[in-house]
Symmetry: C2
Subunit: 212 residues, 2 copies
């Protein structure tokens, strides 16, 4: 067993994707520490030794789920950003891309947000690096938005970036795709809520000035 | 063993609070399912039968952590809202109260956000009810803010409420109290970011209008 994967064939890739999807569901339901490779074997209908053809350890499995999901989000974003010049449109693209992907991949999102701490050593370092890249990209877009608008200094860029990710990532806790609001509209609401605040509304420069 | 707590004395209450704090740390570190009452017994230096004087089951322990934390947040908010009339000031009070409490109680916050699904049956129903009360309170304040300002219809109230909770709750994932920004300032940034967007900036009515 534990024979390592050769250069991936389309069949290998397809089967791996299916396994990662099922594993993400199991980790999302039970939590990483309480879940076992045996659970995956049972639900996927693949023997334990068969699974080790795709990954060597539970840690590697966890890393693959997180890394591949985030890479997909980032690759898709790069593709969509081609030819987009206006900073606010870039930000809009980022929000729609992020919310759109994760509304379709709630289990993976939950694993990324809840089980990052469960990554150890080298696995954690790799994911940390990737998250940082994505966060930096977002921060760069926010910097541009601020530069090209009358945006005041409502919040430092790192706080604004984290606030935006909070808004977007929190959807796993309350949003049910298909019900409530359609995903596209949800993304647009979040984009507007965030951008309006980030660019700065004149009446937010001090607290509680208007009503009452 | 499993003798139930009589009307709580101050000593009982104090010891229970200490145990809940330690249990929150353990659940936050390992996740609910992977953690055991034995872990708590070891770290707290209290025998298993001693622990059952304070709660009957791991589920009851999980509920107590979540319910007591959220009740504290809500009670403190009610107290602070007394005599506050201006809707934006109410919202500001809510944000400062929430962020302030959870920045000081990161483990409890993590348990509330990550381990809500781990609650079962009656425990889940009780916590669901309490979360709904808190969310409704927040939504009522947002409704007032909208009514008393020139707020446009940037987002439906339930989406806006969830976006605000996302911004606030996500701090457990990136914020280190003491480092970065002081808590008070962080809360003010989040308040302004959210309120500016919620009340609606004139230039956010359509996307990407300004720069480029």
């Amino acid at each position: 067993m534990a024979e390592h994967a050769p250069p991936a064939s389309p069949e290998h890739e397809e089967k791996l994707e299916r396994l990662l999807g099922i594993a993400a569901e199991i980790f999302a339901e039970k939590g990483y520490h309480a879940a076992s490779i045996r659970d995956l074997s049972k639900r996927a209908g693949v023997s334990l030794s068969g699974l080790y053809y795709y990954f060597h350890s539970k840690q590697e499995l966890l890393l693959m789920i997180q890394e591949r999901s985030l890479r997909k989000v980032m690759d898709e974003l790069s593709r969509k950003l081609e030819g987009v010049d206006r900073p606010e449109e870039k930000l809009r693209t980022l929000v729609h891309n992020h919310v759109g992907f994760f509304a379709e991949n709630m289990a993976a999102m939950r694993v990324i947000t809840h089980e990052y701490d469960a990554l150890e050593g080298e696995c954690r370092a790799r994911m940390r690096q990737l998250r940082r890249e994505y966060s930096n990209l977002c921060q760069e877009i926010l910097r541009e938005v601020r530069r090209f608008t009358s945006a005041g200094d409502v919040a430092p860029l790192n706080v604004a970036t984290s606030a935006l990710f909070g808004m977007m990532n929190w959807i796993y806790a309350w949003y049910t795709p298909g019900s409530n609001v359609p995903v596209e509209r949800l993304a647009e609401h979040l984009y507007r809520l965030f951008t309006g605040g980030f660019i700065g509304h004149p009446s937010t420069s001090s607290a509680g000035r208007k009503a009452g």
